[in-house]
C-alpha cells in the first residue's frame, strides 16, 4: 500500500513538474503551442460540423482566440439548438446568434424591423403578406438563402408528415402551434398558403386577419435553417445548427460550454465584431459573480438584484438592465371557496403592500403591477384605479363577504427563482405577514418545480405564486394565455373564465388596426380588473453584469439578443 501510494504521489509530482516546464518554456515553444491550437480547432470543426470545407476551418483557426473572444456565463445549459422544437430560454439565447428570422425586433423594443426580409407588404385584404428577401445571404454551409428555404422551414413546422419534421424522433413544434393557431389541417391554423413568387419574394396568405402576424415573424422560434443542413443532419440538427446568423456553430460540451465563431460571410457589412463567443455554464449565482470579478468571464446573466448596486460601483465592472417584459402575480383559484367570491379577492388585493415588497425583494428593480400586462404593451390600461394597500378596507370587504374573522389558506410558493420572482420564499413570508394583518392565515406551501406546475393545472391550489414573461411583445400572449377560457388549465391556472373577456380577446386577435386593438384590450383589462382573478404584484427589471471592456451590449426585452455589434475594448 505504502509503495503504491508513494508511486502515485511521485508520478503526480512528476506530471506537475513536467507541466510546469511545458508551460514556461522558451518562446520557440510558444510557436509550437499555437500550432497545436489550430489543430485543436480544426479537430473541433470537423468533428461537429462536417459540412465546413477545409478552408473555412482554417480561417476560424487562424482568428486569434485572444482579443475578441467573449465569454458569456449563464446558469444552465441549452436543451437543444433547434429553436423551433424547444421553449427553453437558454436555447434561444444561442440560436439567436446562429439563426435569423425574416423580421427582427428593434434593439430596445418589440417594434419589428427588417431581418432576412428587407421589406414587406400587407395587402388591403389584411390576409396577404409579401416579404422581399435580402439577396446574397449565405447559410454557414455555403448554400444560398432564398424563398425556397423559407417555405421549407415553415412547412417543416406546420406539417407533422414533412420530411424534415422528425416527428418520430420526438420533435414537436409547440410554439408554432401556439402562435399560429395549430398545425396544417387544424381549424384554427392561420397560415393558409405560402407561395414562392420568385427566389427573393414570398407570399403568406392567412385564413383571416391576424394582428400578431408580423410580431410572430420576428420571433427567434421562426428562424430559417439551411435546408441542405436539414437534409444532411436529419434529426441531429439540434446539435448541428446551420443558419445565416452572425456566428457559426463550432462545438458544444454539454453542461459546460458552447463555442461559436464569427461567420466571415455575414451579410451585414463589418459585423460581427467578435471573433468568438463562448457560452459558459456556471450554475451558482455567487460563483458566477466570483468568476466575473476574477476576470475569467466577460458577461454574466442572473445577477442577484441585491448585488446590482455593488457592481456598478466596482472598478472594472458594469451593470446592464433588461427592460421590463414580465409580470409576477399571486393567482386565486376562482373555482375554490372562498376565492370564488370577487369580494374576497378584492379584499386580499387591498391587503398586499406592493410598494414595501419592491425594496425588500427586488432591491428596487421592479415596479408595482396594475394590469396583468407589462406597461409598454399595446392596450395597457392607464385608467384603472389600482388596488391600493389598505388593510382597513380589506377587513371591511372580508366582513362584507361573510368572513369577519378571516380564514386559513395555503399560499403556494414557487420552489425556484424566476426573473419575476427572484426570491419566492422571502416573498411568501412578506405576503404572509400582509395577510396576517387583515386576519387571514396563510400557510406557506411549496412543491418541487415540476410537481408544482403539474399540480396547478389540476385546480387543487388556493392561492399561488407565478408569473409570465413575454416573447414577442404581443398583448395576446399575456392575456390570451393567462386569462382566457381557452388557456384553462395549461396556462390559465386561476381558472378564470369570463365570456365577455373571451369575446374581446378573440376580436382583438383578428384586428389588425393598432388603435382598435388597443381599445379592445383596454376594455378587457377593465373587466379583468373588476373581477380580480389575480393580485398583480410586480414587473421586474432583470439585471446582468459584465466587465467594463464589453461595449455595445444591449440586453433585449425578450430575454436574449444577438451579439452582432458587441465588442471588447482593450
Amino acid at each position: 500500500m505504502k509503495k503504491s501510494l508513494l508511486l502515485l504521489l511521485l508520478s503526480l509530482l512528476l506530471v506537475v513538474f513536467m507541466a510546469a516546464c511545458g508551460g514556461d518554456d522558451e518562446p520557440a515553444d510558444a510557436g509550437d503551442d499555437d500550432d497545436d491550437v489550430e489543430e485543436t480547432n480544426d479537430g473541433g470543426d470537423s468533428d461537429v460540423d462536417d459540412s465546413d470545407d477545409g478552408d473555412e476551418g482554417d480561417e476560424s483557426a487562424e482568428a486569434p482566440a485572444g482579443d475578441q473572444t467573449l465569454i458569456y456565463a449563464r446558469g444552465g445549459d441549452s436543451q437543444s439548438l433547434d429553436f423551433a422544437s424547444t421553449q427553453d430560454g437558454e436555447s434561444s439565447r444561442i440560436t439567436l446568434q446562429i439563426y435569423e428570422s425574416l423580421l427582427s425586433f428593434n434593439e430596445h423594443s418589440f417594434d419589428v424591423e427588417p431581418g432576412l426580409a428587407e421589406d414587406w407588404d400587407v395587402a388591403d385584404d389584411n390576409v396577404t403578406y409579401t416579404f422581399y428577401l435580402r439577396e446574397g445571404v449565405k447559410f454557414h454551409d455555403g448554400t444560398d438563402f432564398n424563398a425556397e428555404a423559407v417555405k421549407t422551414n415553415f412547412e417543416r413546422w406546420s406539417d407533422p408528415d414533412h420530411e424534415f419534421a422528425f416527428t418520430d424522433e420526438g420533435y414537436a413544434y409547440s410554439v408554432y402551434g401556439n402562435q399560429f393557431g395549430g398545425f396544417k389541417g387544424d381549424d384554427g391554423h392561420i397560415i393558409d398558403e405560402i407561395n414562392i413568387i420568385n427566389d427573393y419574394e414570398i407570399e403568406f396568405i392567412l385564413t383571416e386577419p391576424f394582428g400578431a402576424f408580423l410580431q410572430n415573424m420576428a420571433m427567434s422560434y421562426f428562424a430559417i435553417t439551411s435546408p441542405a443542413a436539414l437534409a444532411e443532419y436529419g434529426a441531429t440538427i439540434n446539435e448541428n445548427p446551420v443558419g445565416t446568423g452572425p456566428f457559426k456553430f463550432v462545438s458544444w460540451t454539454r453542461d459546460d460550454s458552447i463555442v461559436l465563431d464569427k461567420f466571415e460571410d455575414y451579410w451585414m457589412e463589418g459585423y460581427p465584431k467578435l471573433d468568438r463567443v463562448i457560452f459558459q455554464v456556471i450554475p451558482d449565482n455567487s460563483a458566477r459573480l466570483t468568476a466575473l470579478r476574477a476576470g475569467e468571464i466577460d458577461i454574466m446573466d442572473g445577477l442577484n438584484p441585491d448585488d446590482y448596486e455593488l457592481i456598478q460601483n466596482e472598478p472594472g465592472l458594469q451593470g446592464f438592465e433588461r427592460e421590463t417584459n414580465n409580470f409576477g402575480y399571486l393567482g386565486f383559484n376562482v373555482e375554490m371557496e372562498p376565492f370564488d367570491d370577487p369580494l374576497v379577492r378584492k379584499a386580499m388585493s387591498h391587503a398586499v403592500d406592493k410598494e414595501a415588497l419592491i425594496p425588500l425583494l427586488y432591491a428596487g428593480l421592479a415596479e408595482p403591477a396594475i394590469n396583468p400586462l407589462p406597461p409598454s404593451y399595446l392596450g395597457y390600461n392607464d385608467n384603472l384605479d389600482p388596488y391600493e394597500y389598505n388593510p382597513e378596507l380589506a377587513r371591511e370587504l372580508l366582513a362584507e363577504a361573510g368572513y369577519p374573522d378571516g380564514f386559513e389558506f395555503d399560499l403556494w410558493t414557487m420552489p425556484v427563482a424566476r426573473p419575476y420572482m427572484p426570491d419566492p420564499e422571502r416573498a411568501a413570508e412578506v405576503l404572509q405577514a400582509n395577510f396576517a394583518e387583515v386576519g387571514l392565515e396563510a400557510n406557506i406551501f411549496t412543491l418541487e418545480w415540476a410537481t408544482y406546475l403539474d399540480e396547478l393545472t389540476k385546480g387543487v391550489q388556493d392561492v399561488f405564486m407565478l408569473g409570465w414573461s413575454g416573447t414577442n411583445g404581443d398583448s395576446d400572449y399575456f392575456l390570451g394565455n393567462l386569462l382566457s377560457t381557452a388557456g384553462i388549465p395549461e396556462s390559465n391556472r386561476t381558472f378564470y373564465s369570463n365570456t365577455d373577456v373571451d369575446a374581446l380577446l378573440a376580436e382583438a386577435r383578428t384586428t389588425v388596426d393598432e388603435g382598435e386593438r388597443a381599445a379592445l384590450y383596454e376594455e378587457a383589462l377593465a373587466l379583468i380588473h373588476e373581477d380580480a382573478p389575480m393580485i398583480n404584484l410586480v414587473h421586474t427589471t432583470p439585471v446582468l453584469a459584465g466587465s467594463d471592456r464589453v461595449q455595445n451590449y444591449i440586453p433585449h426585452l425578450s430575454t436574449s439578443e444577438a451579439l452582432t455589434k458587441v465588442e471588447l475594448a482593450e
Partner: protein
C-alpha cells in the same frame, strides 16, 4: 480468487435489476410530467398530449419499464427526453469529469488523511494530535457549499491563483478523446493545458476531498493506535527504535484494512454524490447530470444515470474487497 471474482461479478446482475426496479418505481411515483417540463410553464394542453404520445409516456408504467429493460439488454441506455440525444453518448463525458475529480479528491484525502492520522497516533495527545483531530472534526462538519465559495473568493477572486470554474480554459479548449482532461492533454502533448487542467482540479478537488480526508484521518488514527498497542510494536520498541519510519513500515501495513474500507466507500459515494461541488465549481459531472434530470423528469436519464453510478459503486467495492487479500495474505476468498 478467480471463482470469487466471477461470483461477485455475477451478483452484480440481481443488484442492478433491483436498482433499476426501485429507481423506476420511485420516479414514476413522484408526481410531475416530463412533457410539461420540456415544453415549459407556458405550454398548451394539446402540445403536451402530443409530446406524451411521441415519448411513449401515455403507456402504462410496466410497459415503459419493459421497453427500458429490453433496450438496456441490447446495450442501449435510452435517449434523453430533454435533449433528444442518446444517453450513452451524453453520459461518458460527464462520468469522465466526475472520475477525474473523484480521483484527485481521493488522492488529496488519502495522502493528507493517512499521514495526519499516522502522525497523530504516533504523537498521541500531542499538540499535533489535537490540532489534526480538531481540523478533521471541522472538515467533517464543514458545509461543502460554504467551503467552495470561500475557496473561490480567496484563491480565485482575491489572490487570482486558481480558476473559479470549469475543467479547463474555455478560450483554449482541450481536444478530447478520453474526456479525462489530464490524460487527453498528455496524449495531445499539450503540457500547458495539462497544467491548466490540474489548476482547475485543485479547488474542487480539495472541497470534495475534505470530508473523506477527515474521515480517513480519524480512521487511520484509531486503527493505528490499536496497532501501536500490540505486542510486536512493543517488541520493536523494546529493541529501542520507535521511529516514524518503523511505524510507517511495520505499523501502517496492519492498520490499513479499515482505512481502505472507508476510502473505498467514500470513493463510491463521491462518484454519485458530488452534486454540490459540481454545482459550485461548474464541473460538468454525472451528479449534476442526474440531478438536473430529476428536476426535468427526464426518466431515461435518471434511470440510466443511477444505474451507471450504482454499477461504479459496486465495482469499487469489489476492487476494495480484492485488494484486502492482496494487502493481507491471511485473507483468502
Amino acid at each position: 480468487m478467480l471463482a470469487y471474482t466471477i461470483r461477485r461479478i455475477l451478483m452484480l446482475i440481481p443488484v442492478l435489476i433491483g436498482m433499476s426496479i426501485v429507481t423506476f418505481a420511485i420516479i414514476h411515483f413522484i408526481p410531475g410530467n416530463p412533457a410539461r417540463v420540456i415544453l415549459g410553464d407556458q405550454a398548451t394542453a394539446t402540445a403536451i398530449a402530443n409530446l406524451e404520445a411521441q415519448l411513449g409516456l401515455d403507456q402504462p408504467p410496466y410497459i415503459q419499464y419493459f421497453h427500458y429493460v429490453f433496450d438496456l439488454l441490447k446495450g442501449d441506455l435510452g435517449t434523453s427526453l430533454r435533449t433528444n440525444t442518446p444517453i450513452a453518448a451524453e453520459i461518458w463525458p460527464r462520468l469522465a469529469a466526475t472520475i477525474e475529480l473523484t480521483v484527485f479528491a481521493m488522492i488529496f484525502a488519502i495522502v493528507v488523511g493517512v499521514n495526519a492520522g499516522i502522525i497523530s497516533a504516533w504523537k498521541q495527545n500531542s499538540i499535533f494530535d489535537y490540532t489534526a483531530m480538531i481540523i478533521a472534526l471541522i472538515g467533517v462538519s464543514m458545509p461543502i457549499f460554504w467551503l467552495g465559495l470561500m475557496q473561490q473568493w480567496i484563491f480565485a477572486q482575491e489572490l487570482g491563483w486558481l480558476p473559479a470554474f470549469g475543467r479547463g480554459n474555455p478560450r483554449d479548449p482541450v481536444e478530447t478523446t478520453t474526456h479525462l482532461y489530464v490524460i487527453d492533454t498528455i496524449i495531445n502533448g499539450r503540457f500547458d493545458q495539462l497544467w491548466t487542467s490540474i489548476k482547475h482540479l485543485v479547488l474542487p478537488g480539495i472541497a470534495l476531498g475534505t470530508i473523506p480526508m477527515a474521515i480517513i484521518a480519524r480512521m487511520t488514527r484509531s486503527s493505528m493506535l490499536e496497532i501501536l498497542r500490540s505486542d510486536y510494536i512493543r517488541t520493536i520498541e523494546a529493541k529501542g527504535s520507535r521511529t516514524l519510519s518503523v511505524i510507517y513500515r511495520h505499523g501502517f501495513k496492519n492498520a490499513v484494512i479499515p482505512v481502505l474500507t472507508v476510502a473505498g466507500l467514500q470513493t463510491g459515494s463521491l462518484l454519485g454524490g458530488a452534486i454540490l461541488t459540481e454545482t459550485i465549481f461548474s464541473w460538468p459531472g454525472v451528479g449534476r447530470y442526474v440531478y438536473e434530470a430529476i428536476g426535468t423528469r427526464d426518466y431515461p436519464v435518471i434511470q440510466s444515470g443511477i444505474l451507471v453510478i450504482a454499477f461504479m459503486f459496486v465495482i469499487i467495492n469489489l476492487i476494495v474487497d480484492l485488494l484486502y487479500s492482496y494487502i493481507d495474505p491471511r485473507i483468502k476468498y
